[in-house]
Point group: C2
Chain length 432, copies 2
């Protein structure tokens, strides 16, 4: 009976838990990658992922956009297999599509949430993966914390904080700080999870590429106070398209709520010389306007694939209304983006008060009058925001305002945003 109990104990522990295998997917010696899925009854299995070039064109309402391709996997007995050509060093995400259903790789425990999807990931060793992979080097800590915030009728919001190795050992030392903002569809976990902030910072600090710093990653989506599973407002699911909850809200309260809270809670320097801010996509737009409205606050400003507002005219607003009205209140948002609040739009009272996007040119002049150490703009040549970035650069060039421009290949992807962070950090850090 006693033996039987132990065996039962072991078997029950086994039951329900897929025993994951090593080296999944299989990285071959030439860095080609072989994916395998056991699916004897499937009719059609596709592989999709970030390692596949985005080349497939799709048409939506007469618009042509680029989308990721899928690779059709080949049946070999009960298994489906596909080998992707030799890949450069990176962190790649992927999943299978089995008879039309997105399916995770049951043999790969590495999983990430991306907005409302869950994806597997793997690394190809080398230069870039050296920043992204977990290593036996001293680690900083990541914490998820709530701070008082009354936005959207809530009482608190969640943010993530990276503190470097050694933060707790020397209780007197102060650090520079980087405020790092996610994009549309993201939340306070995005930069740590997808952006590999802990691994990148650990590595760059350990290898003395940068001096230790604290990174504050707030949640800039006003509809959700926290990531899924942490927010009481789970009826508001994360959406890729959330302009209306990303824009015109957190920017206004940022200096007091986020910076004020961070400076009262962490040992960070509270002066312009030691404050940096950066954001991706719509978080880049937030970053730009937080800086414009607080010209004496940040000495370094990073715009990663930023969306900017300079494209918006009265003419486009009318056209945008052709799109599904239910998705968002376009007219109100664009009016705010323009700094112009027409009386005939149906806007909430909080929207009406927001002036964060007004007087762009004046604010830009004041920002540069304050002589920021660095305005950094990075974008990929296939990024759909390229035109917007070029328009913004033209405005800067016309006034001879200096900025650092990092034009890369690639598009609007986490691959680029991680690389931009690696490129940005040494520029805002004193040599350790």
């Amino acid at each position: 009976m006693k033996l039987r109990l132990l065996i039962i104990s072991i078997l029950v522990e086994l039951a329900g838990a897929a025993l994951a295998h090593d080296n999944v997917p299989q990285i071959n010696s030439d860095n080609s990658v072989t994916f395998r899925l056991y699916a004897p009854n499937a009719k059609k299995v596709f592989l999709e992922g970030s390692m596949i070039p985005k080349k497939r064109k799709i048409k939506i309402k007469s618009m042509t956009i680029l989308r990721g391709q899928k690779y059709k996997m080949e049946r070999v007995g009960d298994e489906w297999t596909y080998t992707v050509q030799a890949l450069p060093s990176e962190m790649y995400t992927y999943r299978f599509v089995v008879d039309g259903k997105p399916t995770l790789d049951p043999k790969n425990d590495r999983r990430l949430r991306d907005i409302a999807d869950t994806l597997n990931y793997f690394f190809i060793d080398g230069a870039l993966a050296n920043y992204y992979k977990e290593k036996e080097i001293p680690h900083g800590r990541i914490e998820y914390k709530w701070y008082p915030s009354t936005m959207n009728g809530m009482s608190q919001r969640r943010l993530a904080v990276y503190t470097p190795f050694g933060y707790d050992a020397d209780k007197e030392r102060r650090y520079p700080v980087l405020y790092l903002l996610h994009g549309s569809g993201g939340d306070e976990t995005s930069w740590a999870d997808y952006g590999r902030v802990c691994q990148i910072l650990d590595e760059m600090i350990h290898s003395k590429e940068i001096a230790p710093l604290v990174v504050i990653m707030p949640n800039g989506n006003v509809a959700l106070d926290a990531a899924p599973g942490e927010s009481p407002y789970m009826d508001k699911n994360p959406k890729a398209m959330n302009l209306s909850s990303m824009l015109g809200k957190i920017e206004e309260v940022f200096p007091k709520e986020v910076v004020g809270y961070a400076e009262s809670s962490y040992r960070i320097y509270a002066d312009k010389a030691h404050r940096a801010i950066a954001g991706l996509s719509l978080g880049g737009l937030q970053t730009l306007y937080i800086a414009l409205n607080n010209p004496d606050m940040f000495d370094a400003i990073g715009l990663f694939s930023p969306q900017t507002t300079n494209m918006l005219t009265n003419k486009t607003i009318g056209k945008m209304e052709m799109l599904d009205k239910n998705l968002m209140d376009f007219k109100a948002i664009f009016a705010i983006l323009r700094g112009d609040i027409p009386s005939n739009t149906n806007m909430s009272s909080s929207f009406e008060k927001v002036k964060i996007y007004s007087d762009f040119e004046t604010k830009l002049d004041v920002l540069y009058a304050n002589n920021p150490k660095l305005l950094y703009i990075a974008v990929g040549e296939d990024d759909f925001v390229m035109k917007l970035v070029n328009d913004f650069r033209s405005q800067l060039d016309a006034k001879d305002y200096p900025y650092h421009y990092n034009l890369t290949d690639g598009a609007h992807t986490w691959e680029n945003w991680r690389k931009y962070l690696i490129d940005f950090l040494p520029r805002i850090s004193e040599k350790p």
Copy 2:
């Protein structure tokens, strides 16, 4: 062109992100739950989850064990559907099995990793969910941090720390501490993710059921220094059955490495009266032996569905060897569990030195001579560890050693462990 760019921007943001829907699965007014999956090409779809009674008997090597049933879903057009009878308040996990492949609910963003699986979850409102759901109450913070540890040739290990709301506001205040240990297959994220530690503690502190305390959740699996995605040792995937890496390792270094680190890093009281320790399953066994070997360290000891070592005899060791040798070094482990290291077994040098499991009865006497405030034992009547728990209780009863016994329904499940934590906490806390 400008309009087009904006539309493209929006569409690209949309692409690839499933727009999640509200209220998935559908909780009906009588608390029955309707699950739906769009899968037009599927031949057979099952629903499995914690809301389904474990009644299916399976036979493995002449052993009969209970396993969860699956409910066969019904096709209605392109959708598959199943309605589960009215459920009591709880947090439930589930997934679909589509033509034999485990499949997440694409419309439910609530996802949890359980060892190597990912599952969806939902709540039925009421008494228990009141502890588990995210609410608009003051929140503590959760942080993931690395501490020096040389176990298994590594240099650091990761732990999770819950600090209550207000911890940062009053920089002088000290708190009682609970060390909370996961089971086989778990890691430092298990109690926070599956065990809802943040939500439970936030609620119990806010409603004044307990006084604020700090919870330290280490990683007791020596094979992995951190959860998947955080560990450099990802070739060692998480496994449900990891006796060999769970036992005889962390217990020995616990006082110095874990307690020592916690007390130097957090404002917690460093005396027996303010220290509690609890663990589930194999973490319960670790808890018991950490307490037995450090009888003056903890005033409260919680064993949740604990596995205990008193079942092990020389006779069983021989029989265990019938099982697959590759799974683990049974003989070595059982020798250690017995405190008896036979010279003819193939054990690592670190194993040979471990004496943590020896002299059980003597240590038990010393523990009770130190007069602990509480030894708490909780187990479900269908739990496979019931016999072991009863044997252990007999030993305590024979010596008239007092303990609190919480016999519940249910089995070896997170449902029970969460409930045990809720029952345990007020017993170790002074009234706030």
